[in-house]
Every structure is written in structure tokens, then in C-alpha cells.
């Protein structure tokens, strides 16, 4: 296998990695907010369910969760899992990352001084208006460093997709390395991940900077 073939095969894998990454963020960033808000629900049962969910997600390996998502339907319901590989993968990632984002959001929301809520209330804003106009913008600014951390971790976590034999860049690197008895695929994969994270860090720094106009 020439280096060019290797590179182009692995670039296709990197595109799939990017796909997992993007879909996970699109799903988990908003879902995390829903979870964070439900965690503060006035119904005890809802709060209970949410804290069990977060405890289970944080207390078990993502790799195991992916396997459960993929094989669960077969072992639990005897359902066919044909074509289920990619949906299971994305679901596993979204549900996992939403739990972590939810905790980051919760920390952010709780860190906003009560006076901000009260000022909104006295000025006649509805609860939803106070949250959207006053609280959330400040939360976003405050949690950016933690979100950046999580997003960078996600770039690397996408490699866990190899557990379900999904052909993203890490699975391909392993396969090609074994079949070609070459170390090169690992080097290429490493460079790909590094570049991806460099781009992520750069983009996040730009977003953080755009909120620098206030303290």
C-alpha cells in the first residue's frame, strides 16, 4: 500500500470521525441543557430519574455504554440490529456527552448570583425571559473553558467507535497497521487528531474572545 493510498483511506476515516464529532455536539449540547433544567424540576420523580441517569453515565465506561446501545436491542428484545451500528453509536455518544454538559451547565447556572434573577423578576421579566436574556448569556461565557475541555475530549473519544467496528480513523489505523505491518497509520492518525484538536481549540478561543467585552 502506498503512502498516498494510506492517507486517502485514512482521510475518509477522518471524515467519519468528524461526522461522529459533529452529530454528537449537535445532539448533546442542547440535550444537556434540557437535562440541566430537568434536574432542577419541581417534581421529585423527574429530579430522581435525572440524577440516576447522570450517575449511571458517569459511573460506567463510554466503551461499555456503546456496546449496550448496539447489542442491547438484540439481547433485551431479540430485535435485529442490522443497520443499527451508526445510530447506536451516535445515540451512545449523545446520551453520554449530554450528561457531562448538563453538569457543566448546572454549575454555570448555579454560579450566577441570585441578584440577577431578582433584578429580572422585579423588572417584570417572565421566568423564561429572565433565563434567556439575563442568565443564559452569562452562563455561556462562564462555562466556555469547561466546554472546551469536554469538546477536546470528545475529539479523542470518537476513537471508541472502534468498539462497534465503525470505520473511523482509529479503526482504520489499527486495521491498516496490522495488515501492512506498518507503524505509519498510527502516526497519521495521531497527526489527524492533533490537527482536529488544534482547530477546535482555536475556534473555542475565538468564541471566548468574542465574549470578552464584559466581565
Amino acid at each position: 500500500m502506498t503512502l498516498t493510498t494510506m492517507l486517502s483511506t485514512m482521510a475518509a476515516g477522518m471524515a467519519r470521525t468528524t461526522g461522529i464529532f459533529a452529530l454528537t455536539l449537535i445532539g448533546s449540547l442542547p440535550l444537556g441543557m434540557v437535562v440541566a433544567l430537568l434536574r432542577k424540576s419541581r417534581f421529585g420523580i423527574v429530579r430522581g430519574i435525572i440524577s440516576v441517569y447522570i450517575a449511571v453515565i458517569r459511573g460506567t465506561p463510554l466503551m461499555l455504554q456503546l456496546l449496550v446501545w448496539y447489542f442491547g436491542p438484540f439481547y433485551l428484545f431479540g430485535a435485529s440490529i442490522r443497520g443499527w451500528r451508526f445510530p447506536a453509536l451516535i445515540l451512545g455518544f449523545i446520551v453520554n456527552y449530554a450528561a457531562y454538559f448538563a453538569e457543566i451547565y448546572r454549575g454555570g447556572i448555579e454560579s450566577i448570583h441570585i441578584g440577577q434573577h431578582e433584578a429580572g423578576e422585579v423588572l417584570g421579566y417572565t421566568k423564561a425571559q429572565t433565563f434567556m436574556r439575563i442568565i443564559l448569556p452569562q452562563v455561556v461565557k462562564r462555562i466556555m473553558p469547561s466546554v472546551t475541555n469536554e469538546v477536546i475530549t470528545l475529539v479523542k473519544d470518537t476513537s471508541l467507535a472502534f468498539t462497534l467496528a465503525y470505520q473511523e480513523v482509529f479503526s482504520l489505523a489499527k486495521q491498516i497497521s496490522a495488515s501492512q505491518t506498518s507503524f505509519m497509520p498510527f502516526v497519521i492518525a495521531g497527526v489527524f487528531y492533533f490537527i482536529a484538536n488544534y482547530v477546535v481549540a482555536f475556534a473555542m478561543a475565538r468564541i471566548e474572545k468574542s465574549m470578552d467585552y464584559y466581565r
Binding site: H113, G115, Q116, E118, A119, E121, V122, L123, G124, Y125, T126, Q129, R133, I134, P137, Q138, K141, Y213, Y214, R215
Partner: protein, 252 residues
Amino acid sequence: MIIEMNNIQKQFGDLKVLKDISFNVDSGEVVSIIGPSGSGKSTLLRCATFLETIDGGEIIYMGQKAAHTDAEGKAVYVSHKELRNFRSYCGLVFQQFNLFPHYSVLKNLIDAPVHVQHRSREEAEKTAMDLLGKMGIADKANSYPYQLSGGQQQRVAIARALAMKPEILFFDEPTSALDPELTGEVLKVIRQLAEEKMTMVVVTHEMPFAKAVSNRVLFMDGGVIVEQGDPKEVFENPKMERTKAFLRVFER
């Protein structure tokens, strides 16, 4: 009457913070509330501005009942929607300013008028600029709160409350978070509002200010109004022993 609060009771757990307090304010009146910390002054303001709910008694704004006590002796409020209407009658200036840090000074002043009261942006901006001018900080319209001194921030907070055109403005220790040299500029603004006959209730520890500016002084202690009346009378010739003891501390 702008506001009437009758037989207000408020309790946090087992602690009775307001014990059957009755209190009203007429249009154009400036009332100062003094008293030791924990006496219920702030709680009274927070009940008047609906940040806290009362356990018993009634709150009446402009002759309309916002809350009353039902047959079982429990306080009942009007619906959430109606309550928003009542909120528009009153403004509150906090000890900690509580400006919105992500909004410019101007936006702090126009956001609620535009998004809560649905007034036109143009009109809200004009009102806001007039108010900032009056507060002596028109040049800060495009600054952000963190760029201002404490005294300037509190003046913005006063302007933000006034931008809603309330019938009555409550101040919860407006100068307690300020350095002594910044206190003066905030008190000056409140004094100016008093001259314009703005109806105000000020919880304060600034005794000379309370004496000079208010029409009436209330001394609260232990959840009750111990004494009230003409500021000159209360300060120079207090009737109650507790008032005397409290004022003596300030004379030292």
C-alpha cells in the same frame, strides 16, 4: 395611597420576620426605614416588591388588591399574569446594584421597557438618555457595568428602575456597598428625586440623610414598627426606649 400593606406576616421557618406590620405610603412621600439588621426592613421591601410572598395580610397598590388573607388566614395572591401588572407599579434598587453585566448601560435601561412593557425602542432610548443625564452619567451610556465605579453603577441601577416609570421606588440600603466617598453621589441623586416628588421608600443606615430627606421615618426592630413619625421628632425626641438605644449607637 400608592401602597397599603396591612397586617403583614412573614415567617422563615420558625422565625417570625414580620409580625403584623401595617405600612402605607402616599403619593409623593419619602419614607425612610431604619433599624438594626435582622429587624425585617429588607424583608418588608421584598414583600412589597413581590420578591417574597407574605404569609398573611394584604398588599394593595393604587387601590387594587395584589394579595389578601382568605377565610383560613392564609395569604392569597392574584394570578401570575395580574401580578406582573402589579410589579410595574414598583421599582427596587438593590444594595448590590444587580446590573446586567453583559448589557451596556443603555441596554440595561431599555431592555425591560422594550421587552416587558413593549414600549418602542426609540421612546425607551430617549427616556433612558434623559435619565442618565439626570444621574450625571450620560457619557457612560455605551460603557459596561464593570467599567463603572460603584457609585456610578448604583446610579445606573436607579435609572434602570426609573426607566420602567414606576409609581413608587424602593431602595434596599442603596449605599451600604459603597465607599464613603461614593455614598454622597448616590444620596444626592435620591435627594434630587425627592425634590421632584418621586414616591420613595428607603431602607438606610445614613441617619443624617434620612433626617434631611424623608417626610416620615419608621424605626423597625424585631419584626415590628417600634416607632414612626416626623424625622425631626423621631431622631431628636424618640419616644421608645428601643429607638433611643438604637440611635445612641449612631451618635458615637
